[in-house]
């Protein structure tokens, strides 16, 4: 497996606090790499540096064979780095289908067209519908996003992130605030998308992590404590004590 994304010895300080302390992590093509750790461990901060929202103090980030450490977010998105947000952020007044259609439009880039009616654009609709089908929202196409359940909105977010045909998807707590049933659906969705892109998955739901991850990195106080397969993580005494023990998982 070739590494799609490689972060090498990233450091990020907030004043005196070292939120990212010499972290190296890589994600391979088609792999789901989970990032776990207690609250405040620095997971979101790490993802922020990968997306380009935060600049690391030192270290390098390579993506798809290029050094992207100093590229702005939109340039990374264009290279195939997609993300979903920790806070749900969909266009509430638009139908589920239109949300995905707009994400598709953002990707193809033709926004200064004034007369052609997008509702008659069959190819666009079909593509958006396929995107919804892929996350199990096919039947909800015409429902306004505001009327979708929380879980469905998160599924919709994934569909929007997938519209850009990312090579790698960064998912910050996609199951946050979901019930058991919704979490299960999200697990199915992500498993279904695995063949299409690699994923870096931040998640507190351990059942979901163990169900999905090929590898797991444990982050504690900004440091990568351990990286291994789910089985190795389960057996690792230090990890059990430092993280799994604490959380009682």
């Amino acid at each position: 497996m070739t590494a799609l994304l490689t972060a090498d010895r990233l450091v990020k300080r907030f004043g005196g606090l070292i939120a990212t302390d010499n972290v190296s992590i890589d994600v391979a093509d088609g792999e789901i790499h989970a990032l776990i750790g207690p609250n405040g461990a620095g997971k979101t901060t790490l993802v922020g540096q990968l997306t380009g929202n935060l600049a690391p103090d030192s270290g390098t980030i390579r993506f798809a064979g290029r050094d992207v450490t100093h590229l702005p977010t939109h340039a990374r998105v264009r290279l195939g780095l997609g993300r979903s947000f920790q806070i749900t952020s969909v266009l509430r007044e638009f139908s589920a289908l239109d949300n995905v259609a707009l994400a598709l439009q953002a990707h193809d880039g033709h926004s200064f067209r004034f007369l052609a009616d997008v509702r008659r654009d069959r190819a666009r609709r079909a593509k958006a519908q396929a995107g919804l089908d892929a996350v199990g929202l096919g039947a909800r196409a015409t429902t306004p996003a505001a009327a979708l359940s929380h879980g469905e909105q998160r599924q919709l977010e994934i569909a929007m992130a997938m519209a850009g045909e990312p090579k790698l998807l960064l998912l910050d707590e996609p199951m946050a605030g979901m019930g058991a049933e919704e979490s299960q659906r999200m697990v199915e969705t992500l498993r279904g998308l695995k063949s299409r892109c690699g994923m870096l998955l931040i998640e507190h739901d351990m059942d979901a992590v163990f169900a999905l991850a090929d590898r797991i990195t444990v982050l504690v106080y900004g440091r990568a404590l351990f990286c291994g397969t789910p089985d190795e993580i389960r057996r690792h005494p230090e990890v059990r004590q430092a993280y799994l023990g604490e959380d009682g998982a």
Partner: protein
């Protein structure tokens, strides 16, 4: 199409458009020439209101300075006319170009702000033009300027009916264009940015540029309405672009239904119909009260805000 015609709103819209299309024939048949001039004003104001509805309704950009374009379009025609250039083929393109330039300037500066600041800065720019026009002593200053109507050769703007039909045709064009725009790729970005600007930016859309282009298009149509207003009365004055007129335009858009395709048309019809009916009625009750006909809008707007958020248009929606 057939389906859509079953909705009350579509029926009312169709009837209204037919009525407007044949208005000169009716006013001539019943010898009500004054009604034609009211109709002309309704049509011209509708053009401006439709364009305001595009940025306000679809874009969520509350411009409190849209009447500035009445003045800019109007004065461009007026000043050229005063300088002896009567040809509409020159006057109108120049007036549109000036409107577009002004919209670009105001948009580029005001779109850096949001919410109340946007409202204030658009108002401030409009006031600037207002005082500028008042200060143009060479062109009538506060008193305004009598002009002669644009010459085109093919049509005679002095003929009330011909002029009305020209305005009506331009309104139809405006309605068509803004209606198409709402469902175009451009329109979706404009509406998406109203719904969730941060998300649209994160998706990579050039939100600022899209809004700027929308402001420029709206400014061009606003300027067109100004050109027509100047030709309607053969007169321009600073009063065309007082902040009260900008407020009236917002009232028309809100009354008709924000973000509804034909909403501004309903709004303009109701607005001017109320003016024409209430004024004489109030004057009948007590001489001089007619001046205050706009007071009636207070309660009306409260009712719209409380019970009919979608404006008149929502009252006409089909009930399942």
């Amino acid at each position: 199409m057939i389906e859509r015609l079953k909705q009350p709103r579509a029926i009312v819209t169709a009837l209204l458009l037919v009525l407007l299309a044949v208005l000169p024939l009716l006013t001539q048949a019943f010898d009500q020439r004054y009604l034609l001039s009211v109709g002309t004003r309704i049509v011209i104001w509708s053009i401006a209101a439709v364009s305001l509805n595009m940025i306000l309704g679809y874009g969520g950009l509350v411009s409190f300075g849209h009447a500035a374009f009445f003045g800019i379009g109007g004065y461009a025609v007026g000043i050229l006319s005063a300088e002896g250039i009567q040809s509409g083929w020159i006057q109108w393109p120049v007036a549109l170009a000036v409107s577009i330039a002004w919209a670009t300037l105001v948009g580029a500066l005001s779109l850096r702000t949001r919410g109340v600041y946007f409202i204030m800065i658009t108002l401030a720019f409009a006031q600037l033009v207002y005082y500028l026009a008042s200060g143009l002593e060479g062109y009538g200053g506060d008193d305004g300027l009598n002009i002669s109507r644009s010459r085109f050769g093919i049509i005679d703007l002095r003929d009330k009916a011909q002029f009305y039909w020209l305005c009506f045709a331009l309104l139809c064009g405006t309605l068509w264009f803004c209606g198409r725009l709402a469902h175009s790729r451009f329109g979706y970005v404009l509406r998406g940015a109203k719904s969730n600007e941060l998300r649209m930016t994160a998706l990579g859309f050039p939100v600022f540029q899209v809004r700027l282009v929308a402001c420029i298009i709206a400014g061009a149509f606003g300027g067109l309405a100004g050109i027509l207003l100047a030709n309607e009365g053969a007169y321009v004055s600073p009063a065309m672009m007082s902040w009260v007129k900008s407020g009236d335009l917002i009232v028309i858009v809100v009354l008709g239904g924000i973000g509804v395709r034909f909403g501004p048309l309903y709004g303009a019809v109701v607005f001017f119909a109320l003016e024409e009916l209430l004024k004489p009625f109030l004057d009948l009750l007590h001489k001089g009260w007619g001046e205050y006909w706009q007071l009636a809008f207070g309660p009306l707007l409260v009712i719209v805000a409380l019970y009919a958020r979608g404006g008149m248009a929502s009252l006409l929606r089909a009930r399942e």
